[in-house]
Subunit: 207 residues, 2 copies
């Protein structure tokens, strides 16, 4: 088992894929799987899967496969998703509202606890944790509640300023839906969700 | 210049990143850039960028950098986004509606021309191309209009069946927002957008 700092980011990036595939197998009633089966489902070689998992210790025995529940528990622990994370959504447009109401977060360990916008016609709409708050209160909100994760669903031209304020308030992980590249300090992680980039990656292959 | 089939998919996957970064530089008024500058913006080594671009020919001269407009035009041609692609959105929930109304598609070469759902209370709502159609008409619609791209914003339990129908109708590229892994023939490309997977990839690094 190597120390955490030696594990390549690209390996970390595949662990959520494995977790999702295992989840799917469980929902089909399966209790045991193999690197071969996982590989076929994901389009990744079984050797790669075994190598990735070997960074974190021994998960399966040659010939007997993986106990799915055990492997999932281990992956959740490694990824630190064996707990619940609070998040804020910034931007209460179509996409922000879709994110705020997305049913898939809570069951996988994430909970939206605040939604922010600068549009007076949106502030105050919604209810409970999903009532839209004034963006001027965002920095204090994340600081006081020690919130580490934000989802950014705002126009590109304001995204960097909002990002800076979130980081100043202590946010360390940003899921960015705005179509720009954000500048952040080294200890802040950004993941980009830009549907056009995914589409562009596929059109290359179309006739 | 190597032939298309030899270019690794991982290189293709970085080209949209380059295109977006170049777009951002242009919007800041810049006309020339360097692999060094691009690399700093994207967190990719300048050597990697030069190597990626060298698959497609000569784009820059040593010491003079890249003409941004020329490089962008070439990347668009390579990715086949120097034209407009028609797409359908399947699922007219919060997310499907956000996708159908997303302003960032048309300016980057993608246009939603049909939205489908199976919910009678949604069918017929909306207007123009974005009027929600009956999902029973989806297969004919994509076939008759030779639509190659679909975005899937439906619950996981119906995603595979809808995917099969889209593929049967001639769709060859699917942007999947449903939280399951789709099975498709080899000539069909799938990209996954699952915010939880991106979040899980970042929680690994949080204290």
């Amino acid at each position: 088992m190597t120390s955490v700092s030696e594990i390549p980011d690209i390996v970390i990036g595949r662990l959520p894929l494995y977790l999702r595939a295992l989840n799917q197998l469980v929902s089909q009633g399966q209790t045991i799987t193999s690197s071969h089966e996982l590989g076929q489902q994901l389009g990744i070689s079984s050797a790669q899967i075994r190598k990735d998992l070997s960074h974190f210790g021994e998960f399966g025995k040659q010939g007997t496969g993986y106990q799915i529940n055990h492997l999932m528990a281990q992956l959740k622990q490694i990824l630190q998703v064996n707990r619940e994370w609070s998040m804020v959504v910034v931007g209460a447009g179509d996409l922000g509202r879709a994110l705020a109401h997305y049913g898939g977060f809570v069951e996988r360990g994430f909970r939206v606890v605040g939604v922010f916008d600068n549009d007076p016609s949106k502030i105050g709409t919604g209810s409970g944790d999903l009532k839209v708050r004034n963006i001027n209160d965002m920095n204090d909100f994340v600081r006081e509640r020690a919130i580490k994760i934000a989802m950014l669903a705002v126009p590109g031209k304001v995204a960097q300023a909002i990002c800076d304020s979130l980081v100043d308030g202590g946010v360390r992980a940003i899921l960015n839906y705005a179509p720009i590249t954000l500048s952040v300090p080294e200890n802040v992680h950004v993941q980009y969700i830009d549907p056009v980039m995914h589409l562009q990656r596929m059109t290359y292959y179309l006739d």
